[in-house]
Symmetry: C2
Subunit: 397 residues, 2 copies
């Protein structure tokens, strides 16, 4: 058995890009960009007023007196100033408009009196640059604003749009197959017998995939029958990723490792020192795809998706996998095994900092324990006890 | 001007459901369920083995001796045991299989020696219930597992699937229009003049909407022209939500409040004590829809989406809006205004707990400051200074 870190290293070694494609910016949200985003011009592209007000020469402002200024022009955003601000004059200017030549400060409209040709401007003191966003202060033309590969969230989409990147190269998505195994497993819409269980793992796996915009993987439910299992997985060997749940432990009907091996899929590791989910299997297929064999219990599957599948996909897309966030624990927990243990937690308000509240669960077969959870916390192997205020690593779902 | 809390209360008052619809579970991920989810049977539905092993009577296990047992049956998951475990006998049982009558514990296969008809089972002591997930220990038939209205994340999808809810009632999505205003604003794919700015706000807003699966809102870019603005917004009055960006402040070309008013859209509030984004406008239209008028700066828009639009949508869907998470600040920050201030931060590893690192930005017109951020932190109005270890509320993007 290997540690979680060893497993993650082996998984990362077998990560690979699925190629790239060019998308419209409209379709890029949540995808991973596969090109640098370079500033096409300075940002701001011109000296821009940050306020509605009057553009002046800051040296003109005298705290000791009422400053009377002649208003020589009005400039709206989108317009170009035609005149130059000189001593004793000002130009009325709106937020987003270019600052006129001669001016080096903008007095807010709230600090002006009078209208029309003459205004009185009254700040106590004005520094050069007041209420001006200088050309290039945010970024310089040619600066790399986004380095490939980055996940395209709202801030990144804003940058793409501002800089005119309306067609962008992104990482292609993998082709994925999900196989739920077990004689007891039936589809969600089938009549259920007393000793049968409906397939839920495919939905948990699809949820994890959707984070990366991987939609509509092919799915199959297969009994514990070597021939059927082999035929099904053989049929899916053209996929980049096959995710099998169940049948991966040491039980009498756990045929998955044997069947995968018979298809030429080479085991990279089997069994990880983690609870729940120790029977985890990972291997590579002759066509370059990978196979995850996840334990069959719902909690194990959800944990395996977050701790192993998501880092694999992140590595394929060459982005950092979401790191854990360290919170104070606000309960007591005793280690139950000699392995690293994950358990569902909720983040709750607490003083002085938000804390982690574990959710009661009976075991990895539970379905309700994760319902109120925000993610899973790690109880590390060498730590016998978590107590109040112990720093604990937490993985958001 | 009103406080953020007052604004949020007013927004919540005008929240309303957009109706409900029935979806396949395949399409439900990320939607909000509009029905209770009731357990159709006990969970686990039968006494289930949590391990591969041998089902025994716990009273039979004697730490002082080698316990020899006759193996009277093999039971796989999905099978039904036919025999009854009596003293001196055991039934080989796989994870997920029903525990046979007579047995009240399962000895793990790793703790067994021998194969075939007789096995020796050697734990030091076995409590009744060992390695058994009892029928109903997770949930009882009739229990409400998910109360309407809940956001359907991976754990909720798992519960839906396990309990056979393959068609479910969910909240309908709103019809949304996004209007970017400003003479300087051009589409992302148009040639840009020296004093023009490409529309990025619609992409930030679409990102916020996609969190709730609201896809493909209609969009328009409109100059600072009352007639065009009025015609455009009039055209969108059938929408549930109109989100305008820009033109909402007190500038000479800020026609949005006036135009909205001329269309019979009633102002609920204008201006909130928040930086950036103070000019926020919110109103209700005669047809029951609402209008958000957001300031035009990219950072203001992203903040307004997280702090005001997301809570509005959450209130419409009757789910709790994502609360802030309180982290230690790991820098210094001086208040710049008398308002509540939001600023982009990154969560970084720190001892003992993860902390908030503010990202340098020049102002709300910046595009790059949020690129490395995980969300925004709140510097509350009455607090002049944030210092090392100050607890700070943080809103994940």
């Amino acid at each position: 058995m290997i540690s979680i870190q060893e497993a993650l290293s082996l998984i990362a070694i077998h990560a690979k890009s699925f190629g790239t494609e060019v998308l419209s910016i409209e379709d890029a949200l949540g995808r991973v960009i596969a090109q640098d985003v370079v500033a096409d011009r300075d940002y701001p592209p011109f000296n821009r007023s940050a306020m509605d007000g009057y553009a002046v020469q800051s040296a003109d402002m005298n705290p000791a007196q009422q400053n009377q200024f002649q208003v020589i022009e009005h400039v709206l955003a989108g317009n170009v100033p035609e005149k130059v601000v000189t001593s004793g004059t000002c130009i009325k200017i709106m937020t987003g408009a270019p600052v006129p030549a001669g001016a080096d400060a903008v007095i807010r409209i709230e600090e002006a009196r009078g209208q029309g040709q003459m205004v009185s401007l009254n700040p106590a003191f004005v520094k050069p640059g007041k209420n001006i966003a200088w050309q290039g202060e945010d970024a310089r033309k040619g600066d790399i604003l986004i380095k490939q590969n980055k996940w395209l969230d709202a801030p990144a989409m804003t940058t793409l749009a501002v800089t005119g990147h309306h067609r962008i190269q992104v990482e292609k998505l993998p082709k994925v197959a999900i196989v739920s195994t077990g004689n007891e497993i039936i589809p969600v819409d089938a009549p259920v017998g007393a000793h049968q269980i409906r397939d839920s793992n495919s939905f948990a796996i699809k949820s994890a995939l959707k984070r990366f915009q991987v939609q509509s993987p092919v799915t199959a439910i297969v009994p514990d029958d070597k021939a059927v299992l082999k035929e099904t997985i053989h049929h899916f060997l053209d996929k980049d990723i096959i995710i099998v749940s169940g049948g991966v432990s040491k039980g009498d009907a756990d045929y998955v490792p044997e069947v995968l091996s018979s298809l030429g899929i080479q085991q990279v590791f089997h069994q990880v020192k983690v609870k729940p989910g120790a029977p985890l299997w990972f291997g590579i297929s002759p066509n370059g795809g990978v196979v995850f064999g996840l334990p069959g219990n719902p909690l194990s599957v959800q944990i395996a998706c977050r701790i192993f599948l998501e880092p694999y996909l992140s590595a394929c897309f060459r982005i950092e996998s979401r790191p854990p966030v360290t919170f104070p624990f606000i309960s007591q927990r005793t280690k139950k095994s000699k392995f690293d243990e994950f358990f569902p937690c909720r983040i709750v308000a607490h003083s002085p900092f938000s804390g982690l509240l574990p959710l009661v669960h009976n075991g990895s077969g539970d379905i309700t324990s994760t319902l109120q959870s925000d993610g899973i916390a790690l109880h590390p192997a060498p730590v016998p006890q978590l107590t109040d205020n112990t720093p604990v690593d937490f993985y958001f779902w």
